[in-house]
């Protein structure tokens, strides 16, 4: 522990210990990125000739198409459903408003695999269609192949829309009703009021949700490779793995990171001088009851994304697992151990990421609004999410293991203690997911009026005491939401875990991947189902935390 010097009460920024810790975290996140840059500059650019001629234009085009398609789909589904359940009441709304988050528990690669099987010419869907149409063989009739750009957009869009839905719903719920009412009184239609008032006001939330979904898309390797869509991320892998050109791969990865950072910056800059919130919380939008056909149409509309993004693939997994169990294959002990490892890893990552996120968010905020020197640390802390998992892990290997070796030398230990104990893996995943707690806690802090802190300090409380006794209790919902998001994502994490794990350490995701790599997908169904089931609880908690509408749907917990 640092020797905490009690500061005299006053309205000064957080102490140097906070800023120092925040600085160290930012350096930790930067380390893999800087290593990548160093790797990239370690070689010439001679090989860019053929890359530019044959690979990058097509890969960039594919990436742009995929991002545009997925972006449009998640915006439409996420925003549309969020508005539907916020402003309307219809049968099933009480369930759907949280069920719409369920696809978060689904790793994209599992959904891609499930749909490939479901929609395969010899799968159940096409079989049923053939039966109805009276064809005997898939050679006579079959649907277009899912392994295509539209197929990838379909799969990724229906799995990733909850990122937008979650932020949009939270925003719509807190938007004051009087703004909409004013718009209506000034002659706007309901539709006009939505497009000209509610939607523009939700822009920051939509930007956050959209960027999470798009970064997931950009860094996805499993689903896109599986569906045959050659994105820039696939090009990074090919350059690195097939051509053994790590420097070239690092160059492409750095270029991608640069574009991502530039886009995020442009978006932030674009709304820098706009204000979106009204300080005082007013009466929220009251849902309007729909009747008859309109009500059922709303039910179907809101249920469709849940069915496609969660129910169908989940049922598929249940079916495959049941088949597997019936065929005599049981649940092996390795799988149980993997479940334990997965939960342990996800918990460790959650604790580290949320604690680090709190430090960074607190330090960057306490600098005050004009003197925000530590703001860059908060921005840097989100870089990990903008890099593909394996690339981040590769970047982290060298600095982390150098530190590990130095530590072991200093302590006189053998081997690589941090790597061997899985600490490097936990740190890597925490870096990867740090964007979520930093963003979430920053947003939570922004909602706490400075007057509260001033009052606390005037009453003689220290900075640390104020944080502990005033801010932490107020931040609890934001921190819980961030923790649950990190937990779910860490459970699904595959590439960094594959590369950085210690010996004899399997998680559900690596187990599933090993089965899939061996071509025995059926045996992976149970592991996949376990990932989904274990991810369900945090998602449901998250739904209650983010989207609970106590006035309309009282929670079941009457304690």
């Amino acid at each position: 522990m640092l020797t905490a010097r009690r500061q005299p009460p006053g309205l000064r920024a957080a102490g140097p210990a906070w800023r120092c810790a925040s600085f160290l975290i930012a350096i930790g996140v930067l380390a893999p990125v800087l290593t990548l840059a160093w790797l990239a500059f370690g070689s010439g650019v001679s090989h860019w000739g053929p890359l530019f001629a044959h690979v990058l234009p097509q890969a960039a085009l594919n990436t742009a198409l995929l991002l545009t398609g997925v972006g449009a789909l998640v915006l439409v589904i996420g925003t549309g459903c969020a508005w539907l359940v916020t402003a309307h009441d219809f049968p099933g709304r009480g369930v759907l408003h949280w069920a719409l988050l369920l696809p978060l528990a689904m790793p994209t690669y599992i959904v891609a695999f499930a749909y490939l099987d479901l929609l395969h010419p010899i799968g159940p869907v096409q079989g049923a269609i053939r039966w109805v149409l009276g064809f005997d063989s898939p050679r006579q009739f079959r649907l277009p192949d899912l392994r295509s750009m539209p197929g990838a957009i379909f799969v990724l869009g229906f799995v990733l829309y909850p990122y937008v839905y979650m932020t949009a719903r939270a925003m719509f719920m807190t938007q004051p009703a009087h703004l909409m009412e004013a718009a209506r009184m000034l002659g706007e239609s309901r539709r006009g009021a939505f497009f000209r008032v509610a939607l523009p006001l939700a822009r920051p939330a939509l930007a956050v949700g959209l960027s999470l979904a798009l970064l997931e898309t950009l860094n996805d390797i499993g689903a896109s490779e599986f569906l045959g869509v050659n994105t820039l991320t696939v090009a990074v892998y090919t350059t690195w793995i097939t051509r053994s050109d790590l420097a070239g791969a690092a160059q492409i990865a750095c270029a991608m990171l640069f574009v991502v950072v530039a886009l995020v910056w442009l978006e932030r800059n674009g709304r820098q001088h706009q204000r979106f919130g009204s300080a005082q919380r007013m009466r929220a939008v009251q849902p309007r009851r729909l009747h008859g056909g309109a009500a059922w149409a709303a039910t179907v509309t809101a249920a469709t994304p849940v069915l496609i993004g969660f129910v169908a693939p989940a049922l598929y997994l249940v079916w495959e697992s049941a088949k597997r169990l019936q065929q005599g294959g049981g649940v092996s002990r390795g799988l149980i151990a993997s479940l334990g490892n997965t939960l342990a890893l996800a918990s460790g990552v959650t604790v580290v990421a949320v604690a680090a996120g709190l430090v960074v968010a607190w330090a960057s905020r306490s600098q005050g609004s004009s003197l925000n020197r530590a703001r860059w640390q908060a921005r840097v802390a989100t870089l990990g999410y903008a890099v593909p998992g394996t690339v981040l892990a590769i970047g982290l290997l060298t600095p982390a293991l150098a530190f590990d070796a130095a530590l072991a030398t200093a302590l006189g230990w053998q081997g690589l203690p941090l790597m061997g104990a899985g600490v490097v893996l936990v740190v890597a995943c925490a870096i990867r997911f740090l964007a979520m707690p930093v963003g979430g806690i920053e947003a939570g802090l922004a909602r706490i009026p400075p007057a509260i802190e001033q009052a606390s300090r005037l009453l003689g409380e220290t900075t640390a005491g104020t944080l502990r006794r005033v801010h932490l209790p107020l931040l609890r919902p934001a921190m819980a939401a961030a923790a649950l998001l990190v937990f779910v994502d860490a459970m699904k994490e595959l590439p960094a875990t594959l590369l950085l794990r210690p010996a004899n350490f399997d998680t559900l995701a690596t187990w599933l991947y090993a089965e899939a790599a061996r071509g025995t997908y059926e045996e992976g169904a149970i592991a996949a189902l376990a990932i989904v089931l274990a991810g369900l609880l945090p998602v449901v908690l998250l739904a209650r935390n983010q989207l609970g509408t106590p006035s309309l749907t009282p929670g079941p917990d009457k304690t």
Partner: protein, 354 residues
């Protein structure tokens, strides 16, 4: 509001408590490797080598710790440096194995047992790497096709337009084949071949090798290239399973190269090397020697449906019936490794995977 936060608070506290406990345990210093252990880094799926590892441990009383790493094995071992716990590095594909040798993370091993069991063209002259098993890149064809012989070059024949399935051209199994074509027919011909096959594709070049059989059953295509051992896996799967249906839909032909008089088939390997900084070098050599012994080679054949590197070891009966004894293309493996990057560039050039 308060009710909800209190539930979350409890959940969050429970989460934090378990995590903190876990961190405390995990932070204990790692135990130094004991003398009767060894650490294996493998890019082979653990389930495939587990029977072999179990047999080795039972025989030698040496415990094997495994890490299954897919991409980045070389980078990890390099970064671990002198303190690396890795003793044996195991990979599939000659190119990946040569990367480890070229990356300087292996060490030479001199062993009479290894040298007598493995033919000279299937191991490094300096003992830096050893093949442990072979797999042939064979043709899966719809059962009804009247095919008895096939040349790799035929796959580009326009008569197969819209009838060919294959996994991504950038997959090591395919780049190794293209590298062989470059070695046999020259780069221009290899490029032409890629363009021809690309034009014949029934679907995107993606998925896995088993998808070729599955898509033949699904009526998407008639022929495709895939590895030999999947045939054994699928055809020996339980009656009624999907895999069995796929396997039963195909027949297999061992292709040859048009220009090679030998009439051999393209093979790739699974192999291993002793890590440069192996803390348990003696154990590492013991494992390699075990893996080429008769019983282990028999396990490779019987449980993995691979071709043994050791002469005189019986094939799995299903492989024996459906594919038969292997006639290996005599092109040295190092030649294939040499042309690998060129092959990968060609695959990009013709946009094979687009």
């Amino acid at each position: 509001m308060t009710e909800r936060s209190s539930v979350q608070g409890r959940a969050a506290r429970a989460l934090f408590a378990t995590s903190a406990a876990w961190l405390a345990v995990a932070a204990l210093p790692a135990q130094a490797a004991a003398a009767d252990e060894l650490t294996l880094y493998t890019t082979r799926e653990p389930a495939l080598i587990q029977p072999l590892i179990s047999a080795f441990s039972a025989q030698s009383n040496i415990k094997v710790n495994t890490v299954f790493v897919k991409d980045g094995l070389l980078e990890r071992v390099k970064a671990e440096g002198a303190r690396s716990p890795a003793d044996v590095l195991m990979t599939v594909d000659i190119g990946n194995l040569m990367d480890l040798v070229d990356g300087g993370v292996t060490q030479p091993v001199k062993s009479a047992a290894l040298e007598s069991a493995i033919p000279a063209n299937l191991r490094g002259a300096d003992g830096q790497w050893f093949s442990l098993s072979l797999r042939a890149r064979v043709l899966y064809a719809d059962k009804s096709l009247p095919l008895t012989s096939f040349r790799y070059e035929d796959l580009a024949n326009p008569k197969y337009k819209g009838k060919v399935c294959i996994r991504a051209g950038q997959h090591p199994y395919n780049t190794a084949l293209v590298a062989s074509l470059i070695a046999h027919d020259g780069e221009a011909k290899a490029e032409q071949w890629l363009r021809g096959v690309k034009a014949n594709l029934a679907r995107k070049a993606t998925g896995g090798d088993r998808d070729v059989a599955r898509d033949i059953l699904g009526g998407i295509c008639d022929v495709g290239l895939a590895n030999s051992y999947y045939v054994g896996q699928m055809k020996s799967a339980k009656e009624g399973t999907d895999a069995r249906k796929w396997g039963d839909a195909i027949k297999v032909v061992r292709p040859t190269f048009a220009n090679a008089k030998s009439g051999g088939t393209h093979v790739n390997i699974s192999g291993a090397a002793v890590a440069k900084n192996a803390p348990q070098r003696a154990n590492a050599v013991k494992l390699l020697e075990f893996l080429v012994s008769e019983p282990a080679q028999s396990l490779y054949a019987q449980t993995n449906y691979e071709y043994p590197v050791r002469k005189g070891v019986a094939l799995d009966p299903i492989i024996g019936q459906t594919i038969g004894e292997l006639k290996v293309d005599p092109l040295p493996l190092t030649e294939i490794a040499k042309y690998r990057k060129q092959a990968s560039a060609l695959v990009d050039k013709v946009g094979f995977d687009q």
